[in-house]
Every structure is written in structure tokens, then in C-alpha cells.
Symmetry: C3
Subunit: 157 residues, 3 copies
């Protein structure tokens, strides 16, 4: 049983998790994650074959923060803007008071000249915890149906 | 007046109805429908001209199930993966305790090589009933703005 | 603190605001706005540089209504159908009982022959007021990442 209050907190987290990326506020995006959170990107093909090799993986909030720091320093080429469109989340009660969420997304990438292309579509499989009146990710697994490899490494999905 | 509880049950149904297709779990998708449910796909053009000729129609859950069975047997070519992105639903109270829902969708189709294209955009017009603590479709009418004819017949939208 | 009731009223407004455009019911769309509402379209580039020059602006409901009237009279070429897909809204309590909302959208445009293209992606930044049991916009600012100039002037986003 998931309370109405929890549903809205989770909804805020799911909106923040993409809006902050779209605003290029990666530093605030890090705060969507719990200290021991896992953030990983898997291909759909590997997931369906039970090959758990991730395309990208961070195993703690510190790792996620480091990644963002290195993006800020290293990433001066390939400038673009993201725009995520996320569908409605299906929430189910998980273990130890956590909430599982599944939602689909389409991610568009725009150049600074205003040209847009579809960059990735896929699904978010999340494990979420409510702590201190706020929802945070224990785990966010992104399963990509489609992606463009070279650009993919530059920013999170 | 639609209760908060009903809104969440309807939300779960709307998420399931596309997530199950995206997971290729067509058999579970059938259970989104009531026994005497109608599932149909109309073109927007025909709808606006009040020409009710559907592109595809099932008039009961048994027909929907049959269709899924035949897809499993016949459909060995044109393998692809779906990804639906659905917008927020506008709910209104219908007759006899039913709920009407309208929501827009974009449907992307990916090959197994990871190439994605926009396959269909349109709207879902649903009539939904709550029974036994679960929401099911009495009717799901898909109105397509755009679609690719040859592939369309292979899986539901 | 935003009440559950208010959240649903806002959700209905956000759905209506795009569904009515998609149905080409521009006259009803006007009623999504308060009398002194601002409706404007900005480019993301200008917004980020704090250059507030809008691509399009109406400063009252009367101006919005006039714009719709002129569209009905003048706009006989460039016929198309819109389809908006909007992501989940992040709501925050604003001043004087208003609610701020931020949500992302993708807008597809289809010809009457059934060909669809991505027309615009961007974000809605809204200020919303509840009056008389209904939510209306005090302000809807559309910030576009991408757009096609020539067609853009024909209908609202």
C-alpha cells in the first residue's frame, strides 16, 4: 500500500530527475540519489538475455558526484541541450518500505542552433526510498532501447 | 466525482496498458480488458468525418486473446520493440460508475540493432470500470494521427 | 503545501491545455487562461541569456482570444494536426495561493495525409490559480528548445 503523500513525493523525484538534467543542473541532480545509490545504464538487449554488463555504472552517490565533476571539467565539446519526456510511472510497494517505479522516456537532444534529434528511448526501473520527507533513489536503472554511442558518454540519461 | 483511490487505479491501468506491450507481454496485456471490452484502432481522419470504419477492431476479450495467440504463431518476421510515451490523462466521470479517460501517446519502434523510429502518434479514448479493486477497460479506442501501415498489423498500439 | 484536490485540478488544466489544441478547439483553449493572463513563447537561448524578448506574446485573455480569431480567419494554408506529449509536472507553491508548474513537452505535427514530424520540444513554465473550483493559467511561458519558424506562427504551442 503506497500512501497518497508518498505518491506525490515520488512524482516530484521523477520529475526532478529529468528536469534537472534538462536544465544542465547536474550538481542538484546528484541529490536525487541516496548515499549508497546505484545509477546504471543497461542495453535492453543485454537485460533480456540476463547479461548484466552495464554500459555505464556508478555504485554510490560519491561516484555519481565524481562523474558530474569530471563532466564539468572534461566536457567542452559536444555541447547540447537535453529534453526528457517521461510517461506515467507504475508504482509498486517494494521491500523495507521502498517503492519500485517503472516509467518510459524519450530523450531529445538539441544543438545550440535549435536542431533537435531523438537521442534515446527506454525505460527507468527505480527503487525509491522516502527519507526526511523527500524521495530519493536507492537505484535508478536506465534500460535503453536505442542510443547513440559517441554522445552517450557525455551526460547522464 | 472521481475518488483519489480510483484515480490511482486508473493510472495503474494506463501505465500497464502500454508497459506490458513494451515488454512484449501481450498475454498479460489482455487482462487489462473486461470480458465484453471493445478494443479498436481508428484513423483520425475517419473519426473527424464520423466515418466509424475501424482500421482494427476486437469486440470482446476473447477476440483480443485470439488476436494475441495468432500474433504469437504467425508473427515471426518484422521483429521489433515498442516504446510508448503517454501524456497525462484527463479523467471524467462517465455513466454507471465508469470513468472516461483521454490521453495522447507517441509510439517508437526499435529494431534489435538499436535503431529507433517514430511509429505512431495519436490519442487513447478509454472507458474504464473499477471492479474488484482493479481498473479494466470497457473500451479502448486508439485514434491514430500517423501510422505505418505494413507494420501496424503486427502488434497492438 | 499543495492539496490533493488542487493537484488534480492542476492536472486537468495541464491535460486540457494541450488536448484542446490537439483537437483544434482553440476557442475552448482560451478558457484555460485567467482574464489578465500572460501567454508567451520564448527561445531557450534567450531565456538562458536573460534576454526576455519573446517569440510570441499575449498579455491578456482578450489578446489570446483575438489571436485565435485571426487564426480562424487568416489561416487557410498550412493545415496540420498537432499532438502534444507532456511529461509529469513538478508543482511548487507560489505566492498568493498560486501554484507553479514545470513540465516538458514534445509536439508532433501531422499532415492530413498522415505524415508526422517532430515540430517542437521544450518546457512549460506555468503560474496557475484555482478559482471557482477550476484551475486557470495566470501565466504560461513556453520555452522552446527547437522549433520550425515558418509554421510556428500559425497555432499556439
Amino acid at each position: 500500500m503506497i500512501t497518497v503523500e508518498s505518491r506525490f513525493l515520488v512524482g516530484d523525484l521523477l520529475a526532478d530527475a529529468v528536469n534537472l538534467l534538462d536544465r544542465d543542473d547536474l550538481e542538484s541532480w546528484v541529490d536525487c540519489f541516496a548515499e549508497r545509490a546505484v545509477y546504471q545504464i543497461l542495453s535492453r538487449e543485454n537485460t533480456e538475455r540476463n547479461l548484466p554488463l552495464p554500459l555505464f555504472q556508478c555504485e554510490s552517490k560519491d561516484q555519481i558526484r565524481d562523474r558530474v565533476l569530471s563532466l564539468r571539467k572534461a566536457n567542452v565539446t559536444n555541447l547540447h541541450r537535453d529534453r526528457h519526456i517521461v510517461g506515467p510511472a507504475k508504482l509498486t510497494a517494494g521491500t523495507s518500505g521502498t517503492i519500485r517505479s517503472e516509467s518510459s522516456y524519450a530523450l531529445y537532444s538539441s544543438t545550440f542552433e535549435g536542431t533537435t534529434r531523438l537521442f534515446s528511448v527506454g525505460t527507468y526501473r527505480d527503487q525509491i526510498r522516502i527519507e526526511g520527507g523527500k524521495a530519493v533513489f536507492d537505484e535508478r536503472t536506465v534500460i535503453v532501447d536505442m542510443f547513440s554511442v559517441p554522445t552517450m558518454l557525455s551526460t547522464p540519461i
